[in-house]
């Protein structure tokens, strides 16, 4: 996105609102790598991510005229994609209910092990999380939403959000330790 100048982008948007296939393809080419990465980390595997990517782009092309220039376009599009992912998981809800935090044994991982993790590993790790945990982990850790915002987005309590985040971290650490990446 950064290497695109604003004027050409605006022109492109106008053409996309006009539903010109060439412009749509261009916008897709610009946005899709970043958005696919988002879809991947909110989903279990590539197939699911592909579906989400498609669904998100359809939403964007159909609602582009609603974009007001107040915020950044990328932020708006990103939010649409995140919402698409959340909606998808709400439809196929498999949230597990949690034990209380007190019941869970503490596992902590040393920074040396962490330093051995590669970028590609991170994506795989996140995808291994159960859906509910994955969503909260992504929203909080990667996309920077607060617990109250997450609670509102997912229609759960703030405490649930906190617990799920806690468990998500734990599961990730468990998986990292099990895999023994050294």
């Amino acid at each position: 996105m950064a290497d695109f100048n604003i004027e050409t982008l605006n022109e492109l948007l106008v053409q996309c609102i006009d539903k010109q296939p060439k412009a749509q393809k261009k916008l897709f080419d610009i946005l899709s790598p970043r958005m696919f990465a988002i879809c991947l980390r909110y989903s279990q595997n590539e197939d699911e991510a592909k579906d989400l990517l498609q669904e998100g782009f359809i939403k964007i092309f159909n609602n582009l005229e609603q974009f007001s220039n107040k915020g950044s376009l990328e932020g708006w599009i990103k939010r649409i994609f995140i919402n698409t992912c959340i909606e998808f998981h709400r439809k196929n809800q498999k949230h597990r209910f949690l034990d209380n935090i007190e019941n869970v044994t503490e596992i902590s991982i040393d920074s040396q092990t962490l330093s051995l993790l590669k970028k590609a590993d991170l994506m795989k790790l996140v995808q291994k999380l159960p859906k509910g945990y994955r969503t909260v982990f992504n929203l909080f850790v990667v996309d920077g939403y607060g617990h109250s915002e997450i609670a509102e987005m997912l229609n759960v309590s703030e405490n649930t959000s906190k617990t799920q985040l806690f468990r998500a971290r734990q599961i990730l650490q468990e998986i990292i330790l099990k895999q023994d990446l050294k």
Partner: protein, 304 residues
């Protein structure tokens, strides 16, 4: 404090690694996408306002076509079920007419039965009645079975009233003969006839479950094989005030609990490993509208 630092370190590792990630999607996604947006893309050269108008026109025409075709299908099916029923009844009549010996009647009534079974299947498809409901009704009045055959056949063959009387007498005889050997199946099928006659007067009115009914269904099997059927364990219910469910394994260790009816068990243990096949115990505490709180224990079979 140390723990928090580790958390921060852990979080920032993931944030940095994932936030601005870019991964080119595999080929074919755009092709799929553009084909899904096909109808809109075809209106490219037309000005935007006209484009929206035409799309709404499209929607209207397609809606009209859809409605027309649906009503056509319904009418066709209703006609079909009628004619099928008529041919069937005449078949019954023929079969019954030729029966005098008890030995033959058994074979022939079995034939009728199989034919009826076939028609039952097709009729169920046409009318949309679920089999369990019919079974319930047929169980409730098995004694009237022979009477019903008489009635239905008389109604059907109005033009040949005398003949049909003979036929129904014959059928009475055959059913007396066969009753000892085919005590339940014969009545069921005849009731089936009766049901369909009711349908002719008011077609497609049998709704198995009303939308506003209060119910609870506690399944006793779950098959997590990703075929889309019973892959997760969930209680189906409507009109509840309270709900709580817990699942225990055979060592009575609690492996799942929830107080939200929409939460399903994905057949995984708390360490995320797949729960092994076998027996589990489900305890459901619930209260439905206008009734007391209940606790039900069900044996759940997990099949992989």
């Amino acid at each position: 404090m140390i723990e928090k630092n580790i958390n921060n370190e852990f979080d920032s590792l993931f944030k940095e690694g994932l936030e601005n990630n870019a991964i080119t999607p595999p080929n074919g996604v755009w092709e799929n996408l553009s084909s899904q947006m096909g109808s809109q893309a075809s209106n490219v050269t037309i000005a935007k306002t006209i484009a929206t108008k035409t799309t709404s026109l499209w929607i209207k025409t397609s809606l009209f076509i859809a409605v027309a075709s649906i009503s056509g299908v319904i009418a066709y099916q209703a006609f079909n079920s009628k004619t099928e029923q008529q041919t069937l009844n005449s078949e019954i009549a023929n079969n019954a007419n030729t029966t005098n010996n008890s030995g033959q009647t058994i074979i022939q009534s079995e034939e009728i039965e199989s034919e009826l079974n076939e028609s039952e299947k097709s009729d169920n498809k046409n009318i949309g009645v679920t089999p369990p409901i019919l079974n319930e009704k047929s169980k409730s009045k098995p004694q009237n079975a022979t009477h019903n055959t008489k009635e239905t056949i008389v109604i059907e063959n109005k033009t040949t009233a005398k003949e049909s009387k003979d036929i129904s007498d014959n059928i009475d005889n055959t059913s007396k003969n066969t009753n000892s050997k085919l005590p339940e199946t014969q009545p069921n099928e005849t009731i089936q006839n009766d049901e369909i006659y009711k349908d002719e007067s008011e077609p497609i009115t049998l709704n198995p479950i009303k939308k506003d009914t209060i119910f609870i269904i506690i399944p006793n099997v779950v098959t997590p094989n990703n075929d889309g059927i019973n892959d997760v364990y969930r209680i189906e219910m409507k009109g509840e005030i309270k709900f709580y469910m817990a699942i225990f394994n055979d060592k009575m260790e609690r492996i799942f609990e929830t107080s939200n009816k929409n939460n399903a068990w994905d057949c995984k243990l708390s360490n995320l490993e797949d729960a092994p096949a076998g027996n589990y115990i489900v305890i459901v505490k619930y209260q439905l509208k206008n009734s007391d709180e209940k606790t039900e224990t069900t044996k759940l079979k997990l099949i992989r």
